[in-house]
């Protein structure tokens, strides 16, 4: 029988990626991304073997209380309880994922799931970083164009000269080109506002 994995993650994109990866590896997946439903009830109904939780989910404290509640409830135990090597805990924490084993599933079987989860969480984080970098690069380019325009107009420069001025400014102050452009724009706006 395949293991039932419950996913608790408010990030729909990440949940989807992880769910697919787990399905591909032959696990049965029950996802929950809404805070609206009663978590304790849901766990009782679904009876998962493992619960994978986003490290930033407020639901973790509720999960940790379940092991002390009662005999007829499923009893999730944080994965770390079964293991003593700190490095793997660190890896999971850094990737932003935590896991609970329900009713004494063997730790060995959890390792494989955790590897998939950690890898997907990392992948997702890398994608997000890349996206943010692209966004800020685009933003920078817009700022640089605007700053060049200001310099060309105010100081009667060519586009090439304006770019050189910006680049020198950035190098002299040891800041990014986008930052230098932002400064030029701010100064220009202050001057306009002040006149």
């Amino acid at each position: 029988m395949s293991l039932r994995v419950m996913l608790i993650d408010q990030n729909r994109g990440r949940v989807a990626i992880l769910e697919q990866a787990l399905l591909d590896n032959g696990y049965e997946v029950v996802a929950r991304s809404s805070v609206e439903e009663d978590l304790l009830q849901r766990i009782s109904d679904v009876k998962p073997d493992v619960i994978i939780v986003d490290m930033e989910s407020p639901d973790r404290d509720t999960l940790e209380s379940m092991r002390t509640i009662s005999r007829d409830q499923p009893r999730p135990i944080v994965m770390f309880a079964e293991r003593s090597d700190r490095i793997s805990i660190g890896e999971a924490v850094k990737a932003g994922v935590s896991a609970y084993v329900v009713d004494g599933m063997s730790p060995g079987r959890l390792n494989a799931i955790m590897e998939v989860a950690i890898a997907r969480f990392r992948e997702f984080q890398a994608l997000r970083n890349e996206l943010e970098e692209t966004k800020s690069r685009l933003e920078d380019r817009k700022l640089i164009d605007k700053a060049k325009g200001i310099l060309m107009k105010q100081r009667n420069m060519s586009e090439d000269e304006a770019f050189k001025v910006l680049r020198k400014m950035a190098m002299d102050r040891n800041i990014k080109l986008g930052e230098a452009a932002r400064n030029v724009i701010i100064v220009a706006e202050l001057l306009v506002g002040g006149s």
Partner: protein, 434 residues
């Protein structure tokens, strides 16, 4: 035990081993000292560049401190104890040399339940005890178990709720159902009827009252005057590697706590705390809490409770060994610890007044010369080593003497003891006097 503290007695400030640190906080008003230390420059003045990281759960705080993602954090007082003992999910030795404040919680129940209790007993709201007795009277009127929420199995909120219910003979594990719900979700659960009441910090009591969903019965102050709440904790390993950084943080927090406690700073404190970086709540809600303006049915006389949030006075920041011993006594009472251990040794290992005193000497702050005190014996303010101390009465009139901790654990009629009391007495030979 290898970690029995030894005092160096030096007032010279050690150099920080690292100056950039990241500390974890929760979106609660008792992150005040850490927020002030950062926002008012006390960390910076002590050579530290501190980032505060707002965490979503106590579990996350524990894990991140345990693996070094966070250098230290605001924690539930029970957390460094259970994490050191390994009765929590993770075993990592932790310590605290600083308490983040006194009081601050309250118990709120659903409006219809409050009305039902008052119908059953017109004197229900005379005191916390009479309220618990009224609750016991009506508990059988429902075709289901009433549900009460708190925030974490080892939270003071859990112990407060249990202590109160048990005082009227209600067994918190049999007669009602206790659940854990994140603080920010409490009010909506009360509205939906999935819980009938809860014990939580502010603003989640005031919010239920203002929206007409619930009634606050009393505050945690009414259960135990000036009870300890959160602590600042690090791992023992981290402390050993960064004693100078730790000391600089303690000095900064002592300065911040004095600032936060001054009544004329409370407005600015509220402005800091209500921002998105901290509690993220409406300014007037935070101000009400900081001034202790709570509408609680069992509070006589009605009106504000200036000691609802105590950040410095009454030696509030001192890591009392006896506070740790009280928390351990509750863990035994409710079956969270089953093994017989020497309670004083646990407390001495985790609560470190020696580190506090060194920092206090540098900060020029007077501090108690004893590590423990008896709780439940002062009905008005009193003086200790020249420091004004607050009242410390329990609502049931009991006294907690850390020298008689085993007898104290033994005295509760409603309990879920899972330890062999004879073994516990043998493990605590000096603490069994009756």
């Amino acid at each position: 035990m290898e970690n029995i503290p030894n005092s160096h007695g030096a007032d010279v400030m050690a150099l920080p081993e690292k100056s950039e640190v990241t500390l974890g906080i929760m979106a609660l008003t008792d992150c005040a000292v850490l927020a002030v230390a950062k926002e008012k420059g006390f960390f910076a003045r002590n050579g530290l560049e501190v980032s505060l990281s707002k965490e979503a759960s106590w579990a996350s705080i524990r894990d991140k401190v345990a693996v070094g993602e966070l250098d230290g954090a605001q924690m539930l007082a029970g957390m460094p104890i259970v994490t050191t003992l390994g009765i929590a999910p993770l075993q990592v030795p932790m310590l605290t040399a600083f308490s983040l404040g006194l009081n601050g919680n309250a118990i709120t129940i659903a409006e219809p339940l409050a009305e039902h209790m008052c119908r059953a007993d017109p004197a229900a709201m005379a005191s916390p005890i009479s309220a618990a007795q009224a609750l016991k009277k009506v508990i059988g009127d429902f075709d289901r178990k009433l549900v009460f929420a708190h925030v974490y199995p080892y939270s003071s909120h859990n112990y407060e709720l249990r202590y109160w219910l048990a005082a009227a003979g209600i067994d918190p594990d049999e007669d009602v159902r206790l659940v854990v719900i994140p603080p920010a979700q409490m009010v909506s659960h009360l509205r939906d009827g999935t819980v009938d009441g809860y014990c939580v910090g502010e603003p989640w009591n005031g919010q239920a009252v203002r929206s007409g969903i619930g009634r606050t019965l009393f505050t945690s102050y009414d259960l135990w005057n000036n009870k300890p709440e959160k602590v600042f904790a690090v791992t023992q390993d981290w402390h050993e590697r960064h004693p100078g950084t730790h000391q600089a943080m303690l000095v900064a927090m002592l300065q911040a706590a004095q600032w936060a406690d001054r009544p004329d700073n409370r407005q600015e404190l509220a402005e800091i705390l209500c921002s998105r970086d901290y509690v993220d709540a409406r300014l007037e809600v935070v101000i009400s809490s900081l001034h202790g303006r709570l509408q609680a049915l069992c509070r006589q006389p009605a009106g504000s409770l200036p000691d609802f949030n105590v950040f410095f006075r009454y030696a509030a920041t001192f890591p009392w060994r006896s506070h740790a011993e009280w928390f351990v006594s509750q863990m035994y009472r409710w079956g969270q610890i089953g093994e017989a251990m020497n309670i004083r040794q646990i407390a001495e290992r985790i609560y470190r007044p020696d580190l506090y005193r060194q920092a206090a000497a540098i900060a020029g702050v007077p501090c108690p010369q004893v590590d423990a005190k008896i709780e439940g014996s002062h009905e008005s303010n009193w003086a200790l080593d020249g420091i004004e101390m607050g009242r410390d009465l329990f609502f049931d009139g009991s006294v907690f003497d850390p020298d008689k901790v085993v007898a104290y654990i033994d005295r509760f009629e409603v309990n879920k003891l899972s330890v062999d009391m004879d073994a516990l007495a043998r493990a605590n030979p000096a603490s069994t006097a009756r």
